[in-house]
Symmetry: C2
Subunit: 265 residues, 2 copies
């Protein structure tokens, strides 16, 4: 009954929006929310800016009562609005454990984005260390709370909906920075990440789309802005990412629009 | 029935701990949780460090099921564990609005602490501007969500429990930085702040205790560490803060232990 009344404005490849899509997929309720695409490479629609009270951050969600911002806020709202089934843990203590892990998502996300956006090759190893410190924290947390498990609880839950889109975006670190978890010391978080990546409710994007779309982040610019010397954003909707070649893996030698398949060669 | 089983380890003047005390006071359940004092000026008890999985951050809470960290996590846990009355808003949409405001607490807190800890007088106005930007955000948010009200909703709720301890700590900005909200443009947040500060459930600390205890923050050091040339922390339990003189307001001219009443003159 809420279906025409809930509208998310989002960038399709945005991890924050994917959190909402995963949650709805877990509930079997993807069609209860309308998703409207925002082209981040163009100036923002003033009407949309007014809706979000001047904020350019996406996603935002229109509800019958008002506009909500912040993916974690919208995520919990949808989980409570459509409580069958609840994706959050079922009792106060387990919800608190889940919330402790979710509280790290900001630092985790920032570490990965800073790493891919860094343009100083000499500083790459420091960004790698900062990323590994984030994974090490999760390793310790999961070893503390769920040593023998796969997910944090016995199923893919709210923490997984929060982190899985970031695990997917961080494919850009594997591609552009040769980042990989070391063989030793990360067994628990690796098990978690692999199960998250493989979950059927979380297949809204694939590695190829992310690696191609986020090329401009690897050039140090985000949110649809253009790197120097370029005329078309890697987030452009046309040509479709499937029709473009894989970008060069050496992010320190900038590619042209033509090399990226964004314009005819 | 939970009373002997819930134990919070805390620093008495800590704002994060006060959030929990306010929540319990609102519920009339202060005696359901035992508060154990940690002296932040002494090396941390190894047993306590083990409980918190190596983290020195306080408060932590022991529950029958395990240890919880992070004040916002513990706050929601206690609200859900003792749901009569719930302090969080009563429906998903209002809870989401509340959560959007609460999501700003980290930036708000950081702006105030950075400002008081700054030791470069020439940079003071930049820190003041950053603090005012935080208040301006709240001003706009409250004008959006609750233009004619006092609190965010019709009562002192979860967002108020989160922010009030920070409004109180920021008395140190009034004292050491002559910080005040400008007469123009901050009417809504001023109304909110004044009602928060006056609420009967939030009187665990007073201005004098905060100004005296946080002197060392105004010297640029936190968490019980000692400023150069000093031998006793301003967070020391003895002499009691009531027996000490008010510190000099010019934080840029460091006071001695004797001037602060921390040792006999």
């Amino acid at each position: 009954m809420h279906s025409p009344e809930l509208i998310v404005h989002h960038i399709p490849v945005c991890p924050f929006s994917q959190r909402l899509e995963i949650l709805l997929a877990l509930k079997g309720l993807r069609d209860r929310v309308a998703f409207r695409v925002v082209d981040v490479t163009r100036p923002r629609d003033p009407a949309l800016l007014r809706l979000a009270r001047g904020s350019t951050a996406l996603p935002i969600m229109r509800t019958p009562q008002g506009v909500l911002r912040e993916s974690l806020v919208i995520l919990r709202y949808l989980d409570e609005l459509f409580p069958a089934p609840m994706i959050a843990a079922p009792d106060p203590y387990r919800r608190a454990v889940e919330a402790m892990l979710i509280a790290r998502e900001g630092g985790f996300t920032a570490a990965g984005y800073r790493y891919v956006m860094n343009r100083d090759r000499a500083r790459s190893s420091a960004f790698r260390d900062a990323m590994l410190a984030q994974y090490a924290w999760i390793e310790d947390f999961l070893a503390w709370q769920s040593p023998g498990g796969v997910f944090l609880s016995d199923r893919f839950g709210l923490a997984e909906a929060v982190f899985t889109p970031m695990f997917m975006r961080f494919w850009f670190l594997e591609y552009y920075e040769d980042f990989a978890l070391p063989a030793q010391g990360f067994a628990r978080v690796r098990r978690w990440r692999e199960a998250c990546l493989a979950h059927p409710a979380a297949q809204q994007v694939c590695r190829e789309e992310i690696v191609k779309s986020y090329y401009d982040y690897a050039q140090g610019v985000g949110n649809g802005a253009l790197p120097p010397g370029r005329g078309v954003s890697s987030f452009a909707f046309a040509p479709h990412w499937r029709e473009r070649p894989w970008p060069p893996r050496d992010k320190y030698a900038p590619a042209t629009d033509a090399m990226l398949g964004l314009i005819a060669p």
